[in-house]
Symmetry: C2
Subunit: 310 residues, 2 copies
């Protein structure tokens, strides 16, 4: 039996037919920037129909359709997603009607990525796992005994907005100290921009052609590999707070595995080097064992694969 996974992003909607955790057919569409429930439903229906046509399948061959949204999804499937104009929107009944009664499920995009890793990827075989996606922000997903912990109101797991320390700039959410202001790609870029603005001498300046807006997290990791001292300072700071954020996860629910994903996780060697030892410093009993820390398996496909597993 086939499943369909749909990954709603701010820029594009990606869809795929999934069999045994592998995407066997893909479709993609630009996100309708005017947003709204009807547009989203039209777009999803169009993508599903295109996928079916490509594979010469009928909707009756599809077991279920899962959708990952970049926002809050309640346990009743109501979606709030500011970017695409959804507020407490009841999307499932309307979609099911359009898709001839096929089962439709919805989830938060970071939760869905965690599910992909738990069912098919880096967290497979563990009893419990937490995934953090280090991208523009930080997303989180918690799975315990095979069940996504989405929370009583669909908030869980906004790990990017858990607070770890006082920071030199405020988060978009209005608070100071959110984990994502230390360890997202954005956080790395901002700190690099700050040091360059202070006139520090670094090869990042050449890499970005002395235009601060051009700086990427990859540039900083590349400069780190060249032993550039400003890059070393930025990455050491990032790693210090990453250990604190993961330490919070361990002190909170002590999962059997923690998977680090998102664009920043491409620098896997640098991230994992010494990380477990640093995390253990945050335990009250330092000699206690902690779960494994691993790098996520799926990159851009986590959304489709995870949504299909909802």
């Amino acid at each position: 039996m086939y499943k369909i996974g749909i990954d709603i992003g701010g820029m594009s909607i990606k869809a795929g037919i999934v069999a045994n955790g592998e995407i066997i057919q893909r479709e993609v569409k630009e996100t309708n920037q005017s947003g709204g429930l009807d547009n989203i439903i039209d777009d999803i229906t169009e993508l599903v129909n295109k996928l079916l046509a490509k594979c010469e399948l009928d909707i009756n061959n599809i077991d279920s359709i899962g959708i990952g949204f970049p926002g809050v999804v309640t346990n009743e499937g109501r979606v709030t997603c500011v970017n695409i104009g959804l507020e407490n929107a009841s999307i499932i009944p309307k979609l099911q009607e359009r898709l001839k009664g096929t089962i439709v499920r919805a989830g938060n995009d970071a939760n869905v990525a965690a599910l992909a890793e738990y069912v098919y990827g880096s967290m497979k075989g563990y009893n419990s796992g937490v995934m953090i996606t280090l991208g523009t922000g930080i997303g989180g997903g918690i799975v315990i005994d095979g069940k996504l912990i989405t929370g009583s109101n669909g908030i869980g797991a906004e790990i990017g907005h858990t607070m770890v320390a006082t920071n030199y700039y405020d988060c978009n959410c209005g608070n100071n100290g959110c984990f994502e202001t230390f360890c997202s790609a954005t956080a790395i870029i901002k700190y690099a921009q700050k040091l360059l603005q202070e006139g520090r001498n670094t090869i990042i300046r050449d890499m970005c052609k002395n235009t601060l807006e051009n700086i990427t997290a990859k540039m900083v990791f590349d400069a780190y590999k060249e032993n550039d001292q400003v890059a070393v300072e930025i990455i050491n700071r990032f790693k210090k707070y990453l250990a604190m954020g993961i330490g919070n996860i361990v002190n909170f629910i002590d999962p059997a595995v923690i998977s680090v994903g998102g664009g920043v996780s491409n620098a896997s060697d640098i991230i994992l080097d010494g990380l477990s030892e640093e995390v253990k410093k945050h335990l009250p009993l330092k000699q206690t064992k902690i779960g494994d820390i691993v790098i996520a398996k799926f990159k851009n496909d986590a959304g489709i694969i995870g949504a299909s597993a909802l």
Copy 2:
């Protein structure tokens, strides 16, 4: 059928026979300060036998015995508890042998208190709940769908050592920023001592007879009720960080209820006043509903009742 709950503390071991969540008979014994596995086993056996004699019961009338330890208890029941000289101690088989095969279970004391609140107290009837005990330190316990989340290595839920912000003093655990350095009774006392040391004018000075070591959290709350401006400053600081710590819990697993216990929770009106609104400021989507925040039902009895429910 009766159960026995045992609450191991640094100063005393409290035991009780529990029927339907009520303690029907109690015993208490000073904790043997020389510690060690054999002493603990002797003490527990003695308490159990005294309880049985008082109630004219036989050990066969006891369904199970639960023990709460102030330390890490692995899922296999191994106990590490520095204060009483236990390190990865296998206490259950030896105790079961001494207690004629009666089922013995062990848990962390804060987890056990959470279980008491979930099964019989302030979190009863909710799908998921997190308890925080604000005492000398901060303990935590998480229950989801009736199951204690103790973690894969027994660390969960050391919520007192999750980090929330940068603080002016370090935690005993060696880190800076642990939740318990902001919101425990100790944290309130330390901050009061700091302000008095700075020469601030406050009625707390009279209350403690100008001896900083005499200051208690209760004095600070009492002074707050008198509108003492230094006490207001201390309690406002405490409440700010309490909202951050609870905000972290909500952003992490979004429980249906959060129960605040421990000695500090006696000041329930002051603690709950405006708390939910402050916590919501820490959500990325401010309009999202959050779980109820309540005050724990059981005070000193949570340990016995919760242990009996293990």
